[in-house]
């Protein structure tokens, strides 16, 4: 049996990779993907703990996270689309009309 901690390590690594992706990527689509990576890391943790404690609410939570994530990404992509349609940029650094 693979110990639960291994899954946790993996999920922590995935989570950190996701964070790094959000921070260093310049392409909006890739940032959204990185966030998905973070959420999937969370899913992994939930499933692991759910298994560990032998209760299922963790898995139920995963289902909800999946749905919410897709909704979030849906709105995010729609926004990217609106902006891209007006001006063909996907580079986040260009989005600085607002600030200070």
């Amino acid at each position: 049996m693979i110990p639960a901690s291994y899954y946790l390590y993996l999920s922590a690594i995935l989570f950190v990779l996701g964070i790094i992706g959000v921070l260093v990527r310049r392409n909006l689509i890739l940032i959204l993907i990185s966030i998905e990576l973070m959420l999937n890391a969370v899913n992994l943790t939930f499933v692991t703990f759910s298994n560990y404690w032998g209760v299922y609410d963790g898995q139920v939570f995963v289902l909800f996270i999946m749905v919410a994530a897709s909704a979030q990404v849906g709105v995010g992509l729609a926004l990217v689309k609106t902006i891209f349609k007006k001006k063909a940029i996907v580079d986040v650094d260009k989005f600085n009309l607002l600030g200070q």
Partner: protein, 146 residues
């Protein structure tokens, strides 16, 4: 005896070695004779035209988004379906309402015309084509023709 991870490691190593050996073999055995047409992108015999990074029709995105939203709701339907027998009438009605709400959403999308294809075509902005790849592709075509 190998532990669970040991076997995975074994497969990983085996797979890696297999791929490497094959690539190495082809390297050793191949003959090299590159010319432009051979290097050009293969598009089912058609002449390659423009950059692959062009803007797809906006409809693709809309459809994709709508698909994404509706598809993901299946995660609720699936667990319900598994224990449907035990849950009885209440859960059935609940799920009917849930699907009903989704249908209202679908109807909304439909009525708003976001599932239609026959809308005026979006004209992709010309600068998207003006890339080096386009030029090189044109050159390749010319060289093939000559």
């Amino acid at each position: 005896m190998l532990s669970n991870f040991g076997s995975i490691l074994f497969f990983l190593i085996f797979g890696a070695v297999f791929v490497c050996v094959n690539i190495l073999l082809s390297r050793l055995l191949q003959t090299r004779n590159p010319y432009p047409v051979k290097l050009s992108v293969y598009e089912c015999g058609e002449l390659p035209e423009g950059n692959s990074w062009i803007q797809f029709n906006i409809r693709f995105y809309v459809i994709a988004l709508i698909f994404l939203i509706f598809e993901v709701e299946i995660v609720f339907l699936f667990p319900w379906a598994v224990v449907f027998k035990d849950l009885g009438m209440f859960a059935f009605v609940e799920m009917l309402i849930f699907v009903g709400i989704l249908l209202v959403g679908l109807a909304y999308v439909w009525a708003k015309g976001d599932l239609e294809w026959d809308k005026p075509e979006q004209v992709p902005s010309p600068e998207l084509y003006r890339t080096d790849n386009v030029n090189s592709a044109v050159k390749i075509t010319e060289s093939v023709a000559s």
